[in-house]
């Protein structure tokens, strides 16, 4: 079984080929930080209202450490327990992607925050910005929850592991990051900070995959060991998401405190609740809130993009196209 302790090294016959497919798909989406042009953002930053500037500075401070936390949990907790070589291939790839995200946000802060003291303060946000510290505390608590576990021997060990996995997929990547993406896309829908948005688009694409992989692991474990998912476990997941929503709502209150036209804290709360319900639905758990998405600009993220190539780099291409020269294929 997937969570059995050990170090399975056998790729043939492959037990979990869907993990391997995810690994291959991820490789096709390779992007590099150099491809993101942040140049035009600088002019936009100067145009923002003070309230919007506050929003952006808080947001980048969150980005400064967010992906690093995820990467740490991946290495310290997830990798050792997902005992499948193809699953670990995916996790290795995910780790690379987290590193690229860290580099992207490093680049972003270096560009957005020219003052060295302010920059250092942004990177220390988990210590000195209360609304971010609260989110970090939530993450660290869940990292610590399984940190001592070397092997998943008992049912309780495995439940603890699954809760950690679900926390990082559904709450951190699936809610904290999704909340952050909403601010970015809000700004983009107003024609602002395209550099940030285009990098975020690629980050978002990667994060969607990470979450899908984690849910795939949860599903696989659930099939192998259906009894792990009992009522108490389900309730724990709901509680965890409820707490995550509260963390993110207080972050929103901080970001939006000066008044941003088009994005009220009330709408943001509804949006976060809606996202939390979706995570629960994906896990087959009853929703908590029954809220609807109030942000029409998020619907724009769900449809195909078409960029005018004069204006921005098109993100719709793949790497690793295969095949040989041929003259009679159908097209």
């Amino acid at each position: 079984m997937l969570l059995d302790p050990g170090m399975d090294l056998t790729l043939r016959p492959m037990k979990y080929p869907h993990f391997f497919d995810r690994f291959k798909d991820a490789i096709k989406n390779t992007w590099t930080v150099e491809e993101v042009d942040l140049h035009s953002d600088l002019a936009d930053l100067a145009r923002l209202t003070p309230a919007e500037q506050h929003l952006v500075s808080r947001l980048v401070a969150f980005f400064a450490t967010g992906d690093t936390i995820v990467a740490n949990n991946l290495v310290l907790n997830l990798y050792q327990h997902v005992n499948s070589p193809e699953g670990r291939l995916y996790l290795s790839r995910q780790l690379f992607e987290e590193a690229v995200h860290v580099q992207f946000y490093l680049n972003l802060l270096d560009t957005y925050v020219p003052d060295l003291d302010e920059r250092a303060a942004a990177f220390a946000a988990v210590d000195n910005i209360p609304s971010i510290a609260r989110k970090a505390e939530f993450c660290f608590r869940w990292i610590d929850s399984v940190f001592e576990l070397r092997e998943l021997r008992t049912k309780d060990d495995r439940r603890a592991f699954l809760l950690n996995l679900i926390c990082f997929a559904a709450c951190i990547e699936g809610l904290f990051f999704y909340g952050a993406f909403a601010y970015v896309y809000f700004l983009r829908s107003r024609g602002l900070l395209h550099g940030l948005a285009s990098g975020t688009n690629w980050v978002f694409r990667d994060e969607s995959m990470h979450m899908a992989f984690a849910f795939d692991v949860v599903d696989t474990v659930r099939q192998e060991e259906p009894d792990l998912f009992d009522d108490s476990m389900r309730q724990q997941v709901r509680d965890m998401l409820t707490e995550a929503v509260e963390c993110e709502v207080q972050f929103a209150a901080d970001l939006l405190e000066q008044g941003v036209s088009g994005m009220s804290p009330g709408d943001m709360r509804e949006y976060l609740q809606h996202v939390a319900d979706r995570r629960l639905a994906a896990l087959g758990i009853e929703p908590v809130y029954g809220s609807k998405n109030p942000f029409a600009f998020m619907e724009l993220q769900d449809v195909q993009e078409l960029s005018n190539f004069f204006e921005r780099r098109v993100s719709a291409y793949q790497v690793g196209v295969s095949g040989n020269v041929s003259f009679d294929d159908d097209f």
Binding site: P17, A26, T30, E34, L256, E299, E305, L306, V321, D328
Partner: protein, 783 residues
């Protein structure tokens, strides 16, 4: 979400909400006031709910917002409802027009002539146009159509407001309304007020629009109105290379798109006699070009853009094809340059025959860029003994295909066909060395002549009803368009002396087409049907023939263009007949031939189908000759993101009572495809296929069928959602054999996508349901 649900939510917030008026006073937000503001504009929009816009606007507001913020938010809010009901696009456009109008009037501008006078004092308008308008103020002010703005969709008007309207240099407020802008463009190109009013009416009806540089700059102090510049390769020496950087920068500054060849510059490892060193090849020079292009900001409107052309015998061609890769050494990557292959037929023949291909240094065979056809073949074969490297032709072709599939770049353009079928290559020594940034312009150039082209596009959708195409209206539009495209040549400001040397001699223009897909939808013709192909060909013949007639008329008035004796037309060879086509309008072609024999032509080239990305948005139609990309998609531009929905489909669904939240979600989930909507009859689904769902062979066949009536070329994109080398290589070989002169982007889609946030969740598939080709034994579904 319904109005009632929405209205109950922020009850307490709404009472607390106040708005800061322009005089600084705070006043409580009044829903009814917003409702009344919206109601002003909805007389013909029966599906719009003003209360819904008002309540949603207030929900996004914060206490103490300014009234300008409130106005902007109501525009944005209306725009966000487009996905549910396309009429909100019109509403948002009208609210925006009212906002712009207020901004202009707030500066004391009440009429067109006042806006010109004001902008002239600000240093924005040229003296000639200012004088012209002052002299004809009354007549021109009367020409403004007060209802003109009602024709805009939101995306179009937003684009106009953000980028086309002239702004106060300090306050950045707009100083002209959309209608004043179009009339200003017309005045910049007109000799009489009546002429200006006529041209303005055509543009204001959105049936025709000139290209962006004309829309930006006509009537201003820098009247650079051309879209395209084709710069010959630098000579194989340092001074010439640096001269080209300078020239490209100057051309870019005034909104020109650049095509530049690099085929004459020696490759890596070639000897440099002056220093007895070895060349580093073309890549480091292209890296400098890349940085130069990015540095030039076209008046704040968009970044400079250039495409580099290289012939495939150049020794650095393999590195050239990697310039857009996103991995590898950054110093050998150019993320801002577009790339195109300028391919002789000999290469394609060797690909087909699986032969060898020699890479030859231009310093060993400097004549190759100036030859085409049989002469090129002979010179190339002769130079092969000096080859620096020999590769398999198919391997190199495969690399080209890989670049296309992975970056969309590395466009396939065909040198021999482009030259053999050009009106400009009637005399030896006149050679086309490359195409332009969008692969629709094919004009001769040289070291001292940079080719220039002015463009404009007819909106075919605006000439089509369910009865068919209005041919007389189409001819009238073509005549007006040619007159004003030709006019640009004399009024234009040329940013480089090489451009100024070329354009008056050849006087080429590029009249294009947009909204072909609109016409097909209106007439219910599937894109790949024989009827669609016939219509597209007939339309193109009509446009080309009428444009030639108009140019002959201009020649009768003003004389043939100076290089006319060097053209094929001077020998009686007209483009469709070079192509071997059988025109439908035989008598008109014969009559035209007689007129040309008498007086020649005013323009060496007349027709080119440009991509029209921005002006199609303004006109609210589909781009050029392209099929729709999706029934539901978004556009990302500098102005923001815009949901685009197929209004023809919406009408169809409404008529069938199928425009429901469920169907909308289904379309969204299928990324804008309707193929899975079982409630729709097969014929309707066939009509509304997307570019991804059409056989690409049909796109090539349509392009080849209309090509005899395009004396330059067409920006033909091809679409493969999951390209493989096999498919791509088959497709481009077919395109070459079909006789196309050029092709443009290969569009594809990302391998995976962002998780959709607003469609309902389908619980993850369980492992056993997932079909895996990697491990078929584990998957029962494949057994």
């Amino acid at each position: 979400m319904t109005t009632s649900q929405r209205a109950t939510l922020p009850e307490q917030r709404r009472h607390a909400m106040r708005v800061r008026k322009r005089n600084g006073d705070l006043e409580p937000v009044d829903v009814n006031k917003i409702v009344r503001a919206v109601e002003l504009w909805v007389a013909d929009l029966d599906e719009v709910d003003p209360l819904r816009v008002a309540t949603r606007t207030i929900s996004g507001l914060y206490d103490g917002a300014t009234s300008a913020e409130l106005d902007k938010l109501s525009i944005q809010t209306a725009a966000e409802l487009i996905g549910e009901e396309p009429q909100y696009s019109r509403l948002a456009a009208r609210l925006l027009a009212a906002f712009v109008d207020e901004e202009v009037r707030g500066q004391g501008v009440a009429s067109f002539s006042e806006s010109i006078r004001y902008a002239h004092t600000l240093g924005l308008i040229g003296d000639e146009t200012a004088t012209f308008v002052a002299r004809n103020a009354g007549e021109l002010d009367d020409a403004v159509d007060p209802r003109g703005d009602l024709r805009f969709e939101y995306f179009g008007l937003r684009t106009v407001a953000d980028r086309y309207l002239l702004r106060h240099p300090q306050s950045r407020l707009v100083v002209e309304t959309p209608q004043f802008w179009l009339l200003r463009v017309a005045c910049g190109l007109s000799r009489t007020a009546a002429e200006a009013a006529g041209f303005y009416r055509l543009m204001s009806s959105l049936a025709y629009l000139p290209s962006s540089p004309t829309l930006f700059n006509s009537g201003t102090r820098h009247t650079q109105m051309s879209s395209c510049f084709l710069v010959d390769s630098p000579r194989d020496e340092l001074d010439s290379i640096y001269e080209r950087y300078h020239q490209v920068a100057k051309l870019s500054k005034f909104s020109g798109g650049i095509g530049i060849s690099w085929s004459r510059v020696r490759g890596r490892g070639a000897l440099i006699r002056g220093t007895n060193g070895r060349s580093n090849g073309i890549v480091p020079f292209l890296k400098t070009l890349d940085a130069g292009v990015a540095a030039v900001n076209q008046g704040g409107r968009r970044k400079g853009a250039a495409c580099v052309y290289l012939e495939p015998w150049h020794p650095d061609v393999e590195e050239f094809l990697e310039l857009r890769d996103n991995t590898g050494e950054e110093s050998r990557r150019t993320h801002n340059l577009n790339l195109a292959n300028w391919i002789p037929d000999e290469f394609m023949r060797r690909v087909e025959a699986d032969g060898d291909w020699s890479l030859i240094d231009p310093s060993d065979a400097p004549e190759l860029p100036d030859l085409y056809g049989a002469e090129f073949d002979a010179a190339y074969r002769n130079a092969e003994k000096k080859a620096v490297k020999t590769v398999k032709a198919r391997d190199l072709y495969g690399r080209m295909m890989r670049t296309l599939a992975q970056t969309g770049n590395g466009w396939m353009t065909f040198k021999d066909r482009s030259n053999a079928l050009s009106n400009q290559t009637g005399e030896p020594g006149n050679v086309i060395h490359l195409s332009n940034l969008c692969t629709e312009i094919l004009e001769v150039n040289s070291d001292d002549e940079t080719a220039v082209c002015n463009l404009g596009s007819i909106n075919l959708g605006a000439h089509t009803t369910s009865e068919g195409v209005d041919w007389e209206k189409l001819r009238e539009t073509v005549r007006t368009a040619v007159t004003f495209l030709d006019r640009v040549i004399d009024i234009n400001y040329y940013p480089s002396q090489q451009a100024a040397a070329s354009n008056p001699r050849w006087r080429p223009v590029g009249l294009g087409l947009m909204g072909l897909q609109d016409a097909f939808f209106t007439l219910r013709l599937p894109f790949d049907s024989a009827e669609a192909r016939d219509l597209s060909t007939r339309v193109q013949e009509e446009i080309f023939l009428t444009a030639m007639e108009a140019s002959a008329t201009l020649a009768e008035q003003f004389g043939a263009h100076p290089a006319y004796p060097e053209t094929r037309a001077a020998k009686g060879e007209l483009h469709p007949f070079l192509w071997g086509a059988q025109p439908a309008q035989v008598a008109r072609w014969s009559a035209l031939r007689e007129r040309i024999r008498e007086s020649g032509l005013r323009n060496s080239l007349l027709v080119a189908i440009a991509p029209t990305a921005t002006i199609a948005s303004i006109a609210g139609c589909y781009e050029c000759i392209e099929p729709q990309v999706s029934n539901l998609f978004k556009r990302e531009t500098m102005s923001g993101e815009f949901l685009q929905i197929n209004t023809y489909l919406v009408r169809e669904l409404k008529a069938r009572n199928l425009w429901t939240p469920e169907i909308r979600e289904q379309i969204k989930r299928a990324e804008g495809s309707v193929q899975g909507i079982a409630e729709l009859p097969a014929a309707v689904r066939e009509l509304f296929r997307t570019a991804w769902e059409l056989p690409q062979r049909a796109l090539i066949d349509l392009a080849a069928a209309r090509a005899p009536y395009i004396d330059q070329s067409q920006s033909l994109n091809l679409f493969l959602s999951a390209p493989t080398i096999n498919k791509v290589s088959s497709m481009y070989l077919y395109a070459w054999k079909a006789g196309l002169k050029t092709s443009y982007y290969l569009r594809s889609r990302p391998a995976t996508r962002i998780q959709q946030a607003t469609v309902s969740v389908i619980p993850a598939l369980t492992a056993a349901d997932v079909c895996s080709l990697e491990n078929p034994e584990s998957c029962e579904a494949c057994q």
